[in-house]
Point group: C2
Amino acid sequence: MTDTNRRWVLANYPEGMPTESDWRLEEAPLRDPRDGQVLIRSLYLSVDPYMRGRISPAKNYAASVELGGVMRGGGVGEVVASKHPDWKPGDIAESMGFGWQEYPVLKGEHLRRIDPSIAPIQSAVSYLGMPGLTAYFALLDLGRPKPGETVLVSAASGAVGQVVGQIAKNMGCRAIAIASSEAKLEWCREIGYDGGINYREAGDLGAAVAEMCPSGVDIYFDNTGGPIHDAAMQNLAMKARIIICGMVSLSDKFDQPDIGLRHNRQLLINRARMEGFLVSDYADRFDDGIRQLAAWHGEGRLKFREDVMEGIESMPTAFLRLLTSENFGKQLVKLGEPSG
Amino acid sequence: MTDTNRRWVLANYPEGMPTESDWRLEEAPLRDPRDGQVLIRSLYLSVDPYMRGRISPAKNYAASVELGGVMRGGGVGEVVASKHPDWKPGDIAESMGFGWQEYPVLKGEHLRRIDPSIAPIQSAVSYLGMPGLTAYFALLDLGRPKPGETVLVSAASGAVGQVVGQIAKNMGCRAIAIASSEAKLEWCREIGYDGGINYREAGDLGAAVAEMCPSGVDIYFDNTGGPIHDAAMQNLAMKARIIICGMVSLSDKFDQPDIGLRHNRQLLINRARMEGFLVSDYADRFDDGIRQLAAWHGEGRLKFREDVMEGIESMPTAFLRLLTSENFGKQLVKLGEPSG
């Protein structure tokens, strides 16, 4: 075992679209866990769109990373050393608190135990973790889908979107995907989406949504914001629900005011509801969600696609792929294998 | 009794802010009611912001008035002649279907019976009618106010806004008014609002809202849209509810795209909910609402201010006063007195 911990720290708050030079790879000495703490070897680190908010100095739903601080993020890994009674070397643990580093030291009570016999361990940061739970609670609790309704999903092949579409189908809805390439749409159809729109090729996006959703959009699951949001808002069905889950299309102008079409009249005409979602609000129901997602997966009713890069060096690249829609499926970075 | 019916017909679809020449006053022969119909003498006609949508050729939640057609609107009046078994001369009736005319002929089953001993008859188009019911169902059903929460109301001295503020107080909330003059704010305080903002004098409206709502806005009751909407959206409390009820500030650009700040990030950060409201969706609960509003009025917990013009000639002027915030209280036009 090494005695250094490589980690990415924030070098700059980017203006507009981030670049790799906004982070710096550092070597730090490995730190022993103190009482109650656990030393972990990262096996998979997750990159997620919410991280764009963490490198903005603007007010957000969580504090920003300080300059020179370790970049925040979730991961799954193996316990190396433990001073917490619940954890021993070899255990597999997941947490949102890993950070972009090889050897996080975390409080034992902040870790979630992962059983590697149920699913590949990286599922704990994908369909059996934050993205899957986001899809599950946002669609079911805010969207309240009814059989026969049309559910439109942006970033539909992404970590959240692919789960949304399949839950929508499991609920008896029509699911329509919006994604950035034919290959992604093809995959969306394979997992159950009834149709799709390639927003880079569609031309008039509003007309494309109208064509795919002839009875209007009952639920719009918004992972992107921007022009895709506008196209959906122009095609709402009566009593539509719009779930504001992400705004990855605004990654290049994160700290600027978002100026554009305002859709209050669409909300009024259609008595529609638009609501912001954050998965951490549902922490006390995560176990229920994971149980249902795992059950669907076991029944073949929830498939999942990953896009895996390798090595701690890849973290900024992997994150930037996400912001520019280059990823195809849940973007992960693999750092190692369990020792067992 | 006269044998002519003076009525306002639509002459043009206005571009931007309507003007009086968009309507034309016509004289038509008085029409006898047919089987099932009732001839009514209008006593009070209502003007309401929703009428801006009726004179737009654009899609809306109800069809537009055709050119040359009688301008639509609600009123309260006295039955003059009846071929419907439930109605006899002298009865007082209310309906959304009067139109801007002296002698509407309406189907008996579309009329609501008004008991003049309970409240002044014009209450049937104000706090015991559409505006009161709008305030009641929108605030209680969409807003779900909890004691101690802050409720911010735009057009707060208007027909809907003055009722919203008083219901908010009856529910144990703090109520903050936004209006266009000190006199209106003074009246708002008299009826129970805890404070107010004069949007024409406030300068930085966002800062003014922040000052009046130091814990953030839990419920924003939006009758205006536009910059007031923006100021509210910049000051949301966690889990805020935004009720989109009207957009009178957009009367001068009704058929243009509304371009401006987009607040999706505020919805996301605060997990806030924004929802469009239309009172007609609650028709099967109107009786309950009217009963409660009348009870509050009887207990002195619901006051109401009217702004009354006289004569059918005044209809366009009265409506335009509403669009430019010149009215002070519920805008009505009085055409006559009950004969009894």
